[in-house]
Every structure is written in C-alpha cells, then in structure tokens.
C-alpha cells in the first residue's frame, strides 16, 4: 500500500516525480538479462576455490598432486604460486594501523576463518574444477579460534593484537553531564551477524586481451570506476589498460561489487594462463565468503532530565570485524559512531568503538551500515528513558527531536570523512503525520481489547536518520544523435534499484524529451574517466544532479543554436518531446534535436565553437552529505506458545526531499523493510565454539518470504528538499531498512508487556519463549 504525500506547491513536471514504468524491466521479464553467470568467452577456464575448513590454524602442507592429475585441470595455485601479489588494499585511504590486517589472495601460512581461500583450481569446466578441488588436501594445525569480540583481545600476529584500532568521537563535558543528571539510563544491547545476501551470488570473469594489452574484469558492480583504480594500483598497470564491465547485477546491498580475493585471482590467472577465467560463487560459498555485517555489542548510557530530555549520551561498543579488514577499512564502526545520535538533540556525546578481529568471515557494509545498528541502540534507549520516567514513548521522542528551525544543524561529528551537518528536515512534523496515518491512538484501544482476550499484541516505533549523496563529485555526458535519441553516459552503477529509469527521468525532464528515447550507460569504465558508483544512497543524488547539469548544458546549447535558425530569442523557445518550438505558438517553425545534432556535428565551425555535436558534459560536486529521515511503525503479535512474531502492520514514513519516481522509492522502502525484518527476526550467521559456520544454506540462514513480509504502508514525504543540490533530492535506498530492528523490538516489548525485554537481535522464538516463561514464572511467584 502506498500513500502519496500531499503535493506541495511546485513547478508542474512531465516525467520527473512520476510513477513511470522502468526502462530496465523488459529484458528481465523475458529472461533475456545478462548476469555474469550468463556470460561466457570462447576458450574460457573455470576457477574453483579451495577453502579452509578450519577457523584458525597453521597450514603445514597443501597436497595438490592428485588434483593436478584430475581430468581437465590446467593449473592449481596455492599462495606459493602467487607470493609476489600483495594484500588486498583499501578503496579509500585508511588508518595505517589497519594495514597488517588486510586479506591475501590465498592464505599464506595461517588460516583465519572457515571459507578462507587456500588454493584455486583452473579447469576446462565448472564440474571438473569442482571435482579437482575436492582432491586438494590441506594439512592444518588447529589454533584456538577467537570468536568473541567482547572477550580479552588475542594475538592476530606476533606483536599485533586483534584490536587494531579504537575509534572515538564526541563533544562536551561527559562527566559533568552525568553528574548533574536527573537519572541515568543504561543498556547492554547487541545486533546479530547478518548481511545483504543478494539472490545472485558473486561472480567474475577475468580476461586479458593480449592484442590490446588490456586487463578486463566482467561482472563488476557497485563502484566499477573506483575498483578500476584499486585494480590498476594492485597490478601496477595504467588505468587505461584496466577495464571493468558491469552486467546485470542481481542485487547489491553493499556486499556485491566490493573487491574480494576471487576478483583479483581471475584477473591474475587470465594474464598468467592466457585464457579467460570464469568464477561463479555457489550459495554455500557465498554464506562463508562474502562480506558479513552488523554484529556489534553496545553499552549505552544516557543522562536525562526529569522531562526525559537527553543531556548526554555515551556509547561504548565492540565491533566484530571477522578475520580480516577488507576494502572498507573501519567504515561501519566509524558510521555507527557518527550517526548514532540520529534525529535527536544531544548536547554531550561520546562514542567509542572497539574495532576487533575474530575468526569469522570478514565483515563490511550492508544496507544502512552502522545506522541499522545505531538506530536499534538509540531507539531502545529512548524507549527505556520513557519507561524509566513513566512517559509516553512518542512524547519522549518529540521532546528530543532537533527542531526544523535549527537546520542546518552541525552535529560536531564526522561520517565517511565529512562533517555531519543535517541539511534540512521537519522531524516532528513527519512524526505527527505518521502516527496520525497509522492511527496510533485508536490502535491503542484495539490493542487493549485484544490483550484482554489473551493476545500478546503491541505497537512499536522508531525514528531514523539516514545519510546519502556521498560526494565528492560525479560527471555525466549527455549526447543527442541525429535521430534524436539521447545517450547519458554516467560513472554510476546499477544494482537493480532502477538507476537507468531515474537518470532517464531527470534527463528527460531537463532536456524536454521522452524518457524512453534515452539510453543510460553505467558501470563501463571504458566510457567515462571519472565516477564512483552506487553506494551510500548516492546514485540519485550525485549522478542524478550531474545528469541534470549535463542535460541543462545540452538544452542551452540546443536553444542557442536553434535561436539563430528559428530567428527567435532562446528564452522564447522550449523543447517539447525532442522538438524545439516557440513557446505558445505550436504552429510556428520548429526544429528537432536530431536536426540540431546533425548541424552541430564536428567540422571547422563546431571546433571554432568549442562543441562537437549536440553533446555536453556536466558535473556535480558536494562537500557534504544530505540526510533523509523518517519514522517506522509496527504492529506485532507474539504467539505465546511458539514465540513466533507476526508482523501485522508496518509503516515507513521516509522523507527523500524529492522523489524522482515514487514507485521506485516505495520499492526501495518496502524492499528495505523486508531486509530489516530479516535482521530483526530471522537472519543470523551463527558459529560453533570452534568457529564452524552454522548458517551455510537457506534452511539455516532464513531470508523472509512472502509469508513473513507484510503489505508495508509507505509515506513518501517531500517536506524537506535538500538545499545542497538543485533537484532537492535525498537518497531513498536505505531508510526502509534502517529502523526495522528498532521498531520491531519496541513492538515486541509492548506485545509481551515487558519494557526493555528485547536487548538483542534477531528476536528468535527461543528468546521470546524464554522471556514469556520468565514472565509466567514471575507472575505465578507473585500470586503464591
């Protein structure tokens, strides 16, 4: 279900802001998409990774003799074969202290998690590669695994601890604020280890074009241009001789498109073996090899006054990074600290993050990194403040929200290397809108009636603050061909979110053409020099505004030239469906953009003019991120017998500044809720004490199905367009996910009538059964 926010007064648009069908859909519904597993090159070899079955140990010997004799095997590599290759680098400059913790392509003499690559087999078919991989035998002397990020640190390597860094940010007089507080509320909270788990597993094809001396990586995603830089640096090649190609991507969610050992291995092998190398991950591998996320343990304290106003907030947490520090460095822990205060005014704050390694699959970003965790912590705390002071949960939120009059609001914190300055927002307004739409007050009556009939039913709330539009810059080239078709070349990326459609809508609106005549290029490093990609809800903000800039330049160029030909001042001209017309005179002389393109084609005049063809570049820069925000509301029922949680209603109100396509925004929000529910109730990477992963298939790692995800009610709000970009856009990709853990916890507390009962995610039936048993035992105790 969707609810359109009331349109505010603004210029009428043709396609921007409209629910137009997606350009991406047609090949995908016909089964004609091209995902990386669907692509093959002549003469290719298949790679199979041999992975460590031991969480922590010393490799004494790897015996691949028998495997080498297996049918179809062309080569087998262990670390000794590629010893010259360095550790995998960070994408952005990171703290020096993290450097020793980076992952090698293949384990050298120590394995650190189950699933770590220790050898690779290259064979003539995927089946034969897998056969041979089973014959590779690694002799590993087991070491005690370190599985608890809260326990005393262990040794990662001689002289190096499992805690490379302690992150710290804050402001104000913490001891003073706590000393003068009316009361202090303190909680211990944790978030389970879960991750993006896209439906398409990872895959990569490395291909070395010896004729051109170009190294190609097919199956790139998320940040192809940034990954090109990393790849070029890694292989010590010029950027122009490394090309990455994005195909269809079956979901990204933060994990897909980071560079992993396999991406480098297929490239290295393609150069050494002189044949294209194809690697397609299977699901079991995915669940032990692809980035995990979220697992943190928080000890949070708030100093509050008698009215429930927060005077100070202090959080100390332990971040379970897993076995290595991958391409993101310490980004998730950094974001947790920088975004933890959320939409509330917090006069004094300190966040301390212990970034710790364990013998689990390495962790990195997953949709709403640091904010899913931080929102759970902060919103649990606000509920606890309300409970402690006997105040209403919503009223406590209202009293602490940053007023819109205080925008822009400087948080005195950093996130992703930028200063957190909240750009715009009417937090209290959206809170009121959403509780009214949800019918919160009337709902309380229904809940009371149902409880009287013995049901465990309750409502929950969480507010969220997101960040989006990470800079610094994006460029786009918009070109019109002689037939009037438009090409938009971006440095962006599509992970299935509707990028092409959104970019086409922005271009179509700006230029005055039909969005279906626009082709949007993304993820092709040989088409554009600069770009970043699709992460941190940046694509529509950054690339979208670059599209707007480039399309504006093309429009200006077209009108300038047309004004000579049509003998009318440019300001009296308009472009309608690709035709330049005189405003208000439909029968007058016209010229099409295609004709203009032909006239502007390269030649002495064009060169003198400084433009070739009807084609312009456009740039967008941003020093600061823009901050979407919103509210999550849930109604849940807990089955007293089984401990199962049923989500009966769920609402998200999300302010995205301006929605380019409300249908796509709603899709992002609802999909985000589904993933958030997974982390709140079902999904967890569990490990045995010996470090064996216990969630290696979809019967053990539970993704929400159509049964578990309710019909989410979405309010796409546009109350607070961002002042930081001409289109007013804020990112929409993560807000649907961010608040779910917090809102569900709040609702479950309410349903079972024990404020503060939920202290950890996921809320499993076993946890709830134990809580309900305690509740029964206690009430029995009281009555006897």
């Amino acid at each position: 279900m969707s609810i359109q926010a009331a349109p505010s007064q603004r210029k009428e648009t043709k396609v921007f802001g409209k629910r137009v069908p997606r350009l991406e859909d047609l090949p995908l519904v016909k089964g004609l998409g091209r995902f990386v597993a669907d692509l093959s090159f002549p003469h290719q070899l298949y790679m199979r990774v041999v992975r460590s079955p031991i969480a922590h140990g010393t490799i004494t010997r790897i015996d691949a003799d028998e495997a080498r004799k297996a049918p179809g095997v062309v080569a087998i590599w262990t670390h000794a074969d590629i010893a010259a290759y360095p550790l995998i680098d960070f994408r952005d400059p990171s703290a020096e202290a993290l450097m020793p913790y980076r992952q090698p392509l293949l384990a050298k003499d120590r394995v650190r998690y189950v699933g770590e690559p220790i050898a690779v087999v290259f064979a003539e078919s995927a089946y034969l590669a897998e056969d041979a991989a089973d014959l590779v035998f690694a002799e590993i002397d087991e070491l005690p695994p370190h599985m608890d990020a809260q326990a005393d640190c262990a040794s990662f390597a001689p002289g190096i601890s499992t805690e490379p860094i302690v992150l710290k940010q804050g402001f104000g007089d913490l001891p003073g604020a706590f000393a003068s507080a009316h009361c202090v509320v303190e909680l211990e909270l944790s978030i389970g280890r879960h991750s993006g788990v896209p439906m398409e597993c990872r895959g990569a094809i490395g291909r070395y074009d010896a004729a051109q001396d170009v190294l190609e990586l097919w199956g790139a995603a998320k940040v192809p241009l940034r990954n090109r830089e990393t790849m070029a640096r890694y292989f010590q090649r010029s950027s122009a001789s490394v090309q990455l190609y994005e195909l269809h991507v079956g979901g990204g969610f933060g994990v897909r498109g980071e560079l992993y050992p396999e991406d480098f291995l297929v490239c290295a092998a393609s150069m050494t073996l002189g044949r294209p190398i194809k690697w397609i991950e299977d699901r079991r591998e995915h669940l032990m090899a692809t980035n995990q996320s979220r697992e943190q343990y928080h000890r949070v304290r708030a100093a509050v006054d008698q009215n429930g106003r927060i005077l100070a907030l202090s959080d100390v947490f332990f971040h379970d990074q897993g076995a290595y520090v991958r391409t993101h460095g310490a980004r998730v822990a950094d974001l947790t600290i920088g975004m933890l205060p959320g939409p509330y005014h917090v006069p004094v704050y300190q966040g301390i993050g212990h970034f710790r390694l364990t013998n689990k699959t390495p962790a990195a970003t997953y949709r709403s990194p640091g904010r899913y965790e931080g929102s759970f912590v902060r919103e649990r705390l606000v509920d606890a403040i309300a409970a402690k002071l006997g105040l209403d949960r919503i009223e406590v939120r209202r009293r602490n929200l940053i007023p819109s009059a205080d925008m822009p609001y400087t948080r005195q914190l950093g996130a992703l290397g930028t200063e957190v300055v909240l750009d715009s927002g009417d937090y209290a307004g959206l809170l009121q809108t959403s509780i009214d739409r949800f019918g919160w007050d009337e709902l309380q009556k229904t809940i009371r009636v149902r409880r009287a009939q013995g049901e465990f039913v309750g409502a929950g709330i969480a507010m969220f603050l997101e960040k989006s539009g990470m800079g610094p810059s994006d460029s786009v080239t918009v070109s019109v061909d002689p037939m009037g078709f438009v090409e938009v070349v971006t440095g962006g990326a599509s992970v299935g979110q509707g990028f092409e459609t959104a970019m086409a809508q922005i271009c179509a609106e700006t230029l005055g053409v039909d969005y279906r005549r626009i082709r949007v290029v993304h993820g092709q490093t040989d088409r554009i020099r600069f770009g970043i990609g699709a992460h941190a809800s940046r694509a529509t903000v950054m690339t979208g505004n670059a599209v707007h800039a480039a399309a504006t330049n093309v429009r200006d160029l077209a009108l300038k030239h047309a004004s000579v030909l049509l003998q009318a001042p440019a300001e009296l001209l308009d472009i309608v469906d690709g035709i330049v017309v005189r405003k208000g005179s439909p029968s007058g002389p016209t010229i099409s953009l295609g004709q203009l393109s032909r006239q502007l084609s390269p030649g002495p005049e064009a060169i003198a003019r400084g433009t070739n063809g009807l084609s312009c570049e456009g740039w967008f820069y941003a020093d600061h991120m823009t901050y979407p925000y919103g509210v999550h509301l849930a109604l849940v029922r807990v089955d007293g017998e089984t401990g199962q949680v049923f989500v009966e209603r769920y609402m998200v109100a999300s302010d995205v500044g301006r929605a380019v396509n409300p249908m796509i925004v709603e899709g992002q929000v609802v999909g985000g809720v589904a993933q958030g529910l997974g982390g709140a109730l079902y999904e967890q990477f569990r490990y045995s004490d010996t470090g064996q992963p216990l969630s290696l298939n979809f019967a053990e790692y539970l993704i929400p199905t159509a049964h578990e995800v309710p019909d989410v009610e979405v309010i796409v709000a546009e109350d607070a367009p961002s002042p930081l970009n001409p289109l007013g856009i804020k990112g929409a990709g993560e807000g649907g996910c961010t608040g779910v853990g917090a809102a569900i916890a709040s609702a479950v507390d309410d349903a079972i009538g024990i404020p503060g009962a939920i202290t950890s995610l996921p809320i499993t039936p076993a946890k709830l059964k134990a809580l309900l048993k305690n509740r029964r035992d206690n009430s029995n105790g009281d009555s006897t």
Binding site: K30, R283, A706
Partner: protein, 160 residues
C-alpha cells in the same frame, strides 16, 4: 563419465542432445541450450529462481538432472510469452506493479505463478503469498509481485 542421449522439448522446440548424466537440468538449459533466463540462486532447491515448468508442473531445475527431462516438455521463462511481440499477462503486470528490481528471482516467480494461476485463476492475496512462499526475493519485499499476480489473474480471467 557417463553420457546419455536425450530428446527433450524446450519451449516448443525439440532438442536431441547428448548430456553427461550428472549435469543438472538447469546447467543443461543454461549452458547447452544457452537459455540463461533460468537462474541459479542457491542450487539446493530453496530459493526458487531456477523454477521451470515440466509438462506444465513446476520443478526446481537445480534439483533435477537433464537426463530426467528425457521425453518431457520443458517451458522456461524464455518461452512463456505467446510470441516474440506479445508478453504473457504476468510479464506485463510485473512491469506495471514494480514486481521486480534486480530481476534475478523474476523468472522463477513467473513460472511459479503460471502454474498457480492455471490451477487457481481467481486467487486471494493470501493464496498468492502461499504460492510464492517458496521463491525468495531480496529486493521487492514481495508486495509488487503479489499485486502483479492478482492483476494478471484478472486480465487472464477476462481474456478467456
């Protein structure tokens, strides 16, 4: 390694092929016939992305061997549209209702729903949700898929 000769009809075209006995139906369709619309999301029969129709009934092509398809009629996502120009009502409805984002689960959703709507032309929302509960989608939160199925059912009822 054992190979067998099989005869199988896929999307109305008869294929005579020699297949290794251990090759799954999914791999046969994807790599031997180059029908890559059938996707592999888990290879253990849970996610439903590889669902195809075998003699009109859904089957997980990752859990079935190509040799088991001998003598049977297979329909994949590439063969569900009535012809090259038109779409199946479900394909149209998926676009209209934003029933897909990345599109990876879509082929399995479509084949699953074709069987379901054949058996139950006038389903309730709850019945649709049960029907697709064996197909995982990580992008949409399912609502667009459910809406598309209900809309397509209506279209299909009206056209018969």
């Amino acid at each position: 390694m054992d190979s067998r000769d099989i005869v199988v009809t896929v999307n109305g075209i008869r294929h005579e092929a020699t297949v290794k006995t251990r090759v799954t139906l999914a791999d046969f369709l994807r790599h031997q016939l180059e029908l890559t619309g059938t996707h592999l999301g888990c290879e253990h029969g849970v996610c439903g992305a590889c669902t195809v129709l075998v003699d009109g009934r859904t089957a997980r092509s990752c859990l079935m061997l190509a040799v088991q398809a001998h003598g049977h009629e297979i329909r994949t996502v590439e063969g569900i549209a009535p012809n090259a120009k038109e779409l199946h009502p479900l394909q149209t409805a998926f676009q209209k209702h934003h029933g897909l984002q990345c599109g990876f689960c879509t082929p399995g959703m479509l084949t699953t729903l074709i069987e379901f709507l054949h058996d139950n032309p006038d389903p309730t929302e709850a019945e649709v949700r049960i029907a697709i509960s064996g197909n995982l989608c990580r992008c949409t939160g399912y609502q667009g898929i459910v809406d598309a199925a209900l809309d397509a059912a209506k279209t299909m009822r009206n056209s018969t």
